[in-house]
Each structure stands twice: as structure tokens, then as C-alpha cells.
Symmetry: C2
Subunit: 342 residues, 2 copies
Amino acid sequence: MAVTIMDVAKEANVSKSTVSLVMNNSDSVKLETRIRVLEAIRKLGYVPNMAARELTTKIKHILGLVFLTDNTTNKSYRFDAVTETLLYDTFNGISSGMKQTDFGLLSERFSALDANAELPSLLKNNRVDGVFIVGGLFGDEFIKRVQERNIPAVIVGRNYPGIDSVAPDVLDAMYKGTRHLLETGHRHIVFILGPETSPVAQKKLEGIRKALDEAGLPLRADTVKYCDYTGASGYKAMQVLWESGARMDAVFAANDGIAVGAMRYLYERKVRIPEDISIIGYEQSVLTEHSVPALTTIDINKERMGEEALRILLNRISRRKAKTVRLTLAPSLVVRDTVKKR
Amino acid sequence: MAVTIMDVAKEANVSKSTVSLVMNNSDSVKLETRIRVLEAIRKLGYVPNMAARELTTKIKHILGLVFLTDNTTNKSYRFDAVTETLLYDTFNGISSGMKQTDFGLLSERFSALDANAELPSLLKNNRVDGVFIVGGLFGDEFIKRVQERNIPAVIVGRNYPGIDSVAPDVLDAMYKGTRHLLETGHRHIVFILGPETSPVAQKKLEGIRKALDEAGLPLRADTVKYCDYTGASGYKAMQVLWESGARMDAVFAANDGIAVGAMRYLYERKVRIPEDISIIGYEQSVLTEHSVPALTTIDINKERMGEEALRILLNRISRRKAKTVRLTLAPSLVVRDTVKKR
DNA sequence: CTGAAAGCGCTTACAG
DNA sequence: CTGAAAGCGCTTACAG
């Protein structure tokens, strides 16, 4: 039914070997022949059969994207759920980069948290040449299992020893945000961070402390609150902070969901943002720009992370034993309407 | 390197034909042999080579998802950009359904608006057994070109004659929203709709009119405003409406982005929501639940649309010439905090 | 510079 | 119930 290499060969009066050589840009084909073949290809609308090609070359021209979730049910649009903005932006970065290549992107959500979880079916069934692992929700054995498969992989959003990765510079992000609040005259900042047990919790504190140090201020334990990366959790944390009677002129939230939760609480308390209290988020997600008022936040360049991840993965595929890459991207401050100069 | 069907055959002391029969659940294999083969498969960790299988069966076990964008650059997180929430939820619906199958999902963004645009590379390169076309941003020739390819396709988010599709019941959605506002005592509703030229604009008006009729109210032209599906555009439209001095006690926005834009304008005008003016959105996106206050909206069941689309596409693949399916999903009202009883 | 041949790993009639 | 053989559509040494 579909036109094959044989059809092209006949049309151009050459053997299929020659057609193949032309397709693969071999320079050992006479220009004249080459043109004749190209013409036949165009005329017939020939598209090579991927499966046949893969069968001999072993390369599938497909990359996989595994998005790590905390569980199987999708709750992405609830106030008590982590909004999956990391996935979406990364995905965009990766796929826009892939336009330049002849690779396709196969994606799958996967929960790596059950200890007895196997591997994403992408990997189990050997469907990809390499894989992006998006998100930080994994344990050591998961990565070990992936590496045993011997498929090139890069982790996006978190660094991890022994495997290619690209992640934001968390320390710098927190430093920049805190410094911005200090520079705009705030002296009583409270911090609502992600889970205390998270691998990056310490780095966040370091960043905060660095900025505070420079301003000659201490980091007081009662100004730091931990919670989940959800609106509901941010709301709760803000409430506890508020009811503790702590003095505050600014809130620094460790992601945009938390920030929105805090804003909602303050809104209900009739606290005005930014007139009474300033607030700054972290991530630069759709929530950010569409909040009322628009949220000042830290951009961790998620799309860029995706692009870099693609570059790294493609390199890894062609040079399997190159040195492990561990890329850290600098964040930047996005000033909008929730921070007011004091 | 990888274990092949031959290895399994040797291990089980049968021919590769027999192994193949077992893999394909043929019932013409003696139970005893079958067990022996299965055991060998397990022991060797055999995974069939997709390319080889595809080469003979012609089926790729890959579905494609083409997301129609208005242009190539991704602006999804800007206030003046359409937030791509339709894509994300649909995507989730499709992929969660695919877990039960042995299909993979290849995705691609594509702008079908340039007249000279070709086809998504997914289709051009024949990489999929069928394709989801997500979004309504296409013209007649695009669909025609897709159909010429003779690849099963289903459109998600918009109905179109002659091709399988699943879409929300727009008329009913507008009807339900308007009726809700009427039932809660609003008598001066303004409507901010999407583009006037959109294929669904008429249906929207019909839905509104139906509810208004039932309440014995007229639909006044000066209460309807058209704009793009963006925050910035909704902001603008709200401003025009407001400055026209029109009396209003409620705003019905044709998507959540517009609603948020309108809210931001009202916020700046110090109008309180919902105390002074109620507002209701349309779509049920991440913006909805994370707005302050939480936005009452119409849920068009995007994830469900994805699931149905999968079902339809799989059916189409196995029964190429079945009757065209045109599915319309009933929307439902999601009551949150932006509508107040008058 | 070009062609004939082997081989990639499966499935599918067809014998027996 | 099971095996031998052909074939799917490519690529890649190898001759010439």
C-alpha cells in the first residue's frame, strides 16, 4: 500500500541500496544519480518505514518523558493538589526543541513512590532511546532500576549523583527572593517552605540565611513554616503563622501554589496585598500571572530546563560514556504587583 | 544483545513460531507447551521487539496527539496568552485511559493556521495508528488534509462534520451558568464571550437567551462583549463594559482566563467580588480553584473528553468504516465563592 | 560510484 | 498441535 524503497528504486532506475544511501546522505553517490533518486522520492511521496529502519539500526527515534506523580489519580486542579506546572513547561521546552530533530516524544505518568512499583511501561517495553524523568518524587531504588536498564536518562528538576540532571539553583533562588524583600524595606519576613524532609529544604534555608546575613538580620525559627506544595497547605500554614501573632510585613512562599493559598487566607482576614503585607512566590507558573493581584515570583526557567535536558539526553545517546552532566540553572526575579516598597 | 524470540524458543525447546503463537494468545498451543514457553519468557525477561512486530503487522501501537496552537512560540504563562488548560486535562484523560492498553502516546504542538502549513510531523512521517486533534484552531483544509492521509482521527473540543469528535455542550453550559445567576437573584448580567467569529459564538448566545427567556428577560446587545480567551483581553472587555456605565450585578465570562482578567479589573476598581458583583467562569481550569476568591465556574469535563476520545479513536482503528461519532458532553456547574445570592 | 546479498526480529499462512 | 519458510522494508558491509 504505502510506497517503499523498492518503488523509489524502480522509479529512479537504481537499486534500493542506492536509494538508502541517498536517504542517509552518503556522499558516495554521484550527484546525477542522487538528483534522480531525490526526484523519485518527491514524486512518489516516499516516507521511509520507521519500523524497518529501526529493525536494522536499533535506533527508535523516540524519546520518553516520565512524569513522576505522587499517586495515580489526577488531582491537578484542586486547591489541595500540587499543580503540575513543572511538567507542562518542561514538556514545552522539550518538545519545542525536538522540532529540530526527527525524534518523537512518548510520555507517561508514573508513580515511583510505591516500593513495589516496577518501571514505567515506556522503559519496561523498551520503547525509547532515552528518557526524561521529570520531577523529584523518586527514591534511590527507582533510579537504580532505571540505570540497570541501561537506557540514557536525564532527571529534570532535581540533581542526583551519578546520573545526568538539570535543576534550578534553589539556594540562589531563595537568596534572590529574600534579598528583594530586604531591598524593598521589609524587615519581618516569614517563610513558608515545602516539606521539611525534602532534599532541597536545607538549600533553601541556606539561601535565605545568606541574604539575611548580608543584611545583618538573624533567621528566627518561628518565622519559618513547612508545608506541602499545595494551595490548601499554604493557606493552613499562613493561618498558623498569622494566629501565632508573629509580626510580619512580607511572606516568601516556596512555590506559587503555597503563595496563592497564603493570599487567600490573607484575603479572608481582610489583609491587603501588597499594602499591608507583601508576598512573593517561587516557580513562575500560570497561577502567578493570573492571580489578583499579579504575583511577584522567582522564575526557575522550567522551559529552559526542558531544552537543556533535551540537549543533554541527545548527547548522552550519542556518547554513552561521557562524563555525567549536572546542570544548575540560575533563577531570576519576576517583579509584578505583590511587593510594595516600605 | 537483547533477548529475542529465538532465545526463548531454544530455552523452551520449541520453534519461534510456537513462541509467537503463545505471545499472541493463540489457543492452538497445548497447555503444557504454553506453560513451558511462558516460563522461558519469564526466565529470560523477554520483551518482544516492537519494530519487528510492527514490520509484519503494520500496527505501531502508538497514538498521536496534536495540539493546535495559535502560533509556534509558547506563551502559555502570560496574562495575554491563552492558558493551555484544554491540552493538559485532555492529555491526562487520554493517557490515564491508555494505561490499560499497550499503546503509547506521541505528542506534538502544531499551528494549523498558516494556510501553507503542512501536516504535523507525526502524520507526515506516519508514526501513529491514529491521532487526537486537540483544540479548535483549524480551518477546513487542515481537516481535509488529515483525512486524505487516511489515518483515524478524532477532534477533541469541537465538533466537525464528517469526522469523529467529542466536545462540550456549549449551549447547555451557557444556559446553566446564566440560569444559576438568575436563580441567585441577578437581574443585570453582562456577558464576556470569546471571539465573535468563533464557530461556537452562536451556540453560546442561544444558551444565554434560553435561560433569559425562561426568566422573561431580554438579551440586550449592550450587555454582550466579545474578546479573546486571555486574561488581558478579559480585563480590557471588563473595562469597556464598566466604563460604559452599564448597570450590572453579575459577569459571565466565557472562559476562566477572561474571568480572571475581569476580576483583576474589578479589583483595581475596588469593586468587591462577590459582594458588589458576582462572577462566573467557564472551563474549570487550574485558574479557577486558585483564584482569590475561588471562582464559580462551569466544568466542561475536559478529562472525560480525553477518555471518550480515546475510546472513540480505538474503536475507529479497529472498525475503520463505522459511522462517524459526534459526542457532546454535558457540562456541570461548580459552585464556589464568586456568586452571591441577591 | 552502484548493486546483490545478508540480516534485523517478528508474524502468518501452510504443511504435516 | 508444532515447525519450516517466506516476507515485512530497511541498512550495511562487500564486491566489482
